[in-house]
Amino acid sequence: MKGIFFLPLLLLLPLAASAQLVQIQRLGAPNRQFAGLGFGADLGVTTAIQYGRVIPIGGHPILLSAEWAAPVGKRVFDDSRVGLQLSGSLHPGRRWQIPVSLGAGAVFTQNKMARLNSLNLLAGIRPGYYARRWHLAGDIFYNKILAVHLRPSEYYREAYYAEAQDGWYRNAGGQLKLGLSGGLSLGRNDLTLRTGIAATEKGRPNVLPAYAVIGYGRWF
């Protein structure tokens, strides 16, 4: 019967957010829910909000979190991303841990040239030292863009290419992030910082070639 717990896990694998705003070593603590706020440079100057709760899967505490994020700019709702993420540790309860996260989300963006909506598969691993109140770890994150729906704007069709095809395109690339993650717990509050470099899956630097996100999360 234990195996039945892995069914929702498998179904949720394609759902994820990008950045965890709380400390993963909290999973065994009595507080089961958190709300978080993140701000920093991550595909733009971005604000993110998260909600998460610890759920038991196969007898292990797993963090299920949902995120909405958007960059700053004149138009607030033309660019955003959403996601759902499952996070857990391969060595729970120990100082040296290997937390992993898996899931997927969607990215929405509209600009002068096109409207793009993508489905993304995400995977992260943050091996490092996790003390009771703080952690310092490596941060490796892979964002695979499984498919993108691209609708060229009237401007693009008029000024560039009238025959541009709108529709779904598969394998629209991917991104790798490589950096460090640190965190500190103060009572029910967590502060986290993730920073590093960002590149395409083939190693070409992103337009914004680095990321740095500071997060605040409160457990309840």
Partner: protein, 321 residues
Amino acid sequence: MKQKHFWLIPVLVSTLAASCQKVETLSEPGLLVPKTVTENPALPSVFLNNTLFHAESFGDPTDPVILVLHGGPGADYRSMLPYKALADEGYYVVFWDQRGAGLSERQDKDAMTVDNYLKDLELVVEHYTQSDSQQLILFGHSWGAMYATLYINAHPERVSRAVLCEPAAFTSDELNDFVSKAYKLDFFAEGTNDITWADGALSADDHASLDFKQALAIESVSDHERNSSDNPVPHWRYGAVTSQFLPRSQPSFDWTTRLQEFPGKVLFIDGEWGTVHTLERQKMLATHYPDASVVTVQGAGHDVLYQRFDTCKNLIVNFLN
């Protein structure tokens, strides 16, 4: 009763699989950006210096040659095509998309060098002129006007006259000054985030995706050009590799060392509205040439050649006559 519908499962699975197979990748030619001359052999082309250029010409090949140099680097000559009307004025008008740009063949970044560009232009001149004595007029817009100056500085004796519309700089110092005024990085601007956020939805390293995003980047940070939004300047394709790697191939340059040897007249055309391509900048650049004049065209920005075609064409015809 439910068992009767089990046959639907393989049908649905097959339908889903079939529909997934129809989803294209962005690298398929012609879906996101137009096909280049290597992907569409019907396009007019010429093979020079180990690359296939998109090129066409109008008029009598024995007439004085006007060689049109588009902007960018990486853009194309689509917006300058109306100037084929100069053929009716007794000129042989030649258009070509520069190396890796527009509908010309894509090239690797290693081929994007200023030396290669100069060689390309030398061979284009050789290809489209009947003899060394045939009159040659260079007509460049923006980067194309800089490119024309590169050539004139190398071969001041070969060019008869030049029409230069809003070049940015002829030396690296001038270019650094221009860039510092034109592109102020604002992380909180909508345009900046439009460019960076697109990486989350489209991050492919294929040429079509890069070209598409290059056009997005250019369009998102060109407010200083004060181009008309009502009648946008037409392009075919922004060559991302050209745009990004050609400037890096020669970070320090001075294309003015022999300009004083140039015996011909030069006409600078300035659009009234430009905030960085200003009249003062054009006058400063004109001082590099011994015999140059600057004319401001009212009611247009950096896209003056396209938006004020009749005015500019008359200016050019009068200048050449």
